[in-house]
Symmetry: C2
Subunit: 346 residues, 2 copies
């Protein structure tokens, strides 16, 4: 708990002076004011994060948290739990979705086993296993409060290490069969909306499977009675180890003033937990895309950010973050490289 | 007219066999079917265009058409016409919006003076000037039908040359003070919507300026009575030389079966003219982003494509195309590089 408490205490505000300087610079560029839209907003926010208007990314890292979820035994998924270990095992080879797209954009992957049920023998996978998958949350808490804290702190440590090694732009990703169920449960605790609006088919459930998934989420919340004003209670009772680890990543990046990108629905649920622990963490977050999962738009609105991409993607793994990285780089380039209206004699 | 007629006759259908093969391959990859959303749709469409599922881009080119618009003398813009020549003159140096973003994504620029009012002495700018800006469309046609055809054919020739030199992914861009006015006029001819819904502030008009712009567009259409079922009539009466040139780019790319990306509102108006001349040209078009210009969503819906990015951008120049290029490349990479479910033993 000490590392988490320290990390939370380090998360601060954006540098208003640097943001004003960035706005002045953006308005001086050879274009109508504001006409580069979101790129300008990103450039300004990056200035607020780093304290400089002149930014660049020398080491982009996507941190992928892999974990299993005990609730899968209720039959809420279209793939079995074993797939978590199989796909995670392929990740270091760069042949899963995020591996291919990370290579395209020049980002490095850090794959973390924070709670996969099977044994992963790939040495390139960081072993931070808290437990071999959570418990079935329809029968009680998915994990203990202490395990949730340890998972968050594992995420903080992995992220702090990446930053110490030079990471200056961080993406978030996950792999875990059943994790749209846990993410939907977290969203259900915080959103007023009905389960019909926020629970989706995940990897591809049938109509019957979807109804069952909603019922399982309703029951998990009813059995555990998570307390919305205690995010660690919500996370431990109806969350997952991947979500906990990524919450740690968001908090660590924010505490070190490093920009961090939200991926899809699960990553967004982790960002929401991080924000419930420390609202100022939002200052360091960027939103890559809006997932095709039905709760995604609601979740992004609750987080209070705007997505850059609208690609109907719902794979997770950090694929949206990879695609957002060139956009973030574009934002740094316009403010550094564009000529000014003064150059044009205006 | 001969080149245009020939070009139109070459535009054909997508290769259904290759698209089916691509779909089978996409469904075999290590991910839930369809979970990469728009990336999968792009990969499939590219297969339909090239006839192969295995695609890559070795030379990305953004073609930028620069031209002035006589209607600017009515006071419909927040910048004077002289800015067209000034900004276009800076483009070869890579310091305008599209220059910076094209460098980021490894795309080459082809800047075409298709009708700038001033003299451009940069040797790197391709001189295809049809006339030094169009006539004031509130008093009669912006250009003759013959001039419109010549401008389209100039666009075809420039694009054919780029393709002959190896371009295998083409973006479209423009620079021309007053060209949201001409684009809105074209949209007004084809859309049932009122001018209030489709005419916006362009580079930054005041409330008064916006009302005047709507009135000028209404008057231009009233004076010229463009015939919606004759796209060359619409283009010549209330269009612009940049729009005509880009219509040529869309048609040339389609005729050579090369994917071509729509940028923002003006590029979209050119795509609409191209589609009115040959509906099958849509088979080769991709939509990069939805511009913040109010008519943009309407225009994209009429074109019948979905944008990839939602960045509130409205600079034009081809900036949206540059940002879309890594996404198009991502689509080619997933189908080529991802492992399959069979590899995972599923």
């Amino acid at each position: 708990m000490k590392l988490l408490t320290e990390t939370l205490s380090l998360i601060g505000n954006l540098d208003e002076k640097a943001m004003n300087d960035a706005q002045l610079r953006l308005d001086s560029l050879m274009k109508p004011p504001g006409s580069l839209g979101r790129l300008e907003e990103i450039a300004k926010k990056l200035a607020g994060i780093t304290g400089r208007i002149d930014n660049s990314f020398s080491k982009k890292v996507i941190i992928v948290m892999a974990a299993d979820n005990g609730v899968v035994e209720e039959g809420v998924t279209s793939f079995p739990s074993a797939i978590t270990a199989v796909v995670t095992g392929f990740m270091p080879r760069g042949v899963t979705g995020v591996g291919v797209l990370a290579r395209l954009v020049g980002a490095e992957l850090r794959i973390v086993d924070i709670g996969v049920a099977g044994d992963l023998k790939e040495p390139a996978i960081i072993d931070r296993k808290i437990m071999p998958g959570t418990h079935n949350m329809t029968r009680g808490p998915a994990m203990s409060r202490e395990q949730a804290v340890r998972a968050i702190e594992a995420g903080i440590e992995v992220t702090d290490t990446a930053i110490a090694q030079g990471a200056d732009l961080i993406g978030t990703g996950e792999m875990g069969i059943g994790n749209t169920t846990t993410s939907s449960a977290i969203l259900h605790v915080y959103a007023e909306d009905s389960l019909e609006l926020i629970v989706g088919r995940g990897a591809g459930l049938s109509d019957e499977g979807l109804m069952k998934k909603r019922e399982i989420i309703r029951r998990s919340v009813e059995v555990n009675k998570p307390l919305g004003d205690d995010p660690l209670d919500v996370l431990s009772k109806v969350g997952g180890l991947d979500i906990a680890g990524l919450a740690g990543t968001f908090l660590a990046a924010a505490s070190r003033r490093i920009p961090v990108i939200i991926d899809g629905f699960i990553s967004g649920a982790a960002a929401l937990i991080a924000l419930k622990l420390k609202p100022e963490a939002r200052n360091f977050m960027f939103c890559s895309h809006v997932s095709a999962e039905p709760g995604a738009r609601k979740l992004i609105a609750m987080i209070g950010l705007k997505p850059m991409l609208d690609m109907d993607m719902r794979l997770g793994e950090g694929t949206g973050c990879a695609l957002a990285m060139p956009l973030m780089e574009g934002a740094t380039r316009i403010i550094r490289e564009m000529a000014t209206l003064a150059d044009a004699g205006c």
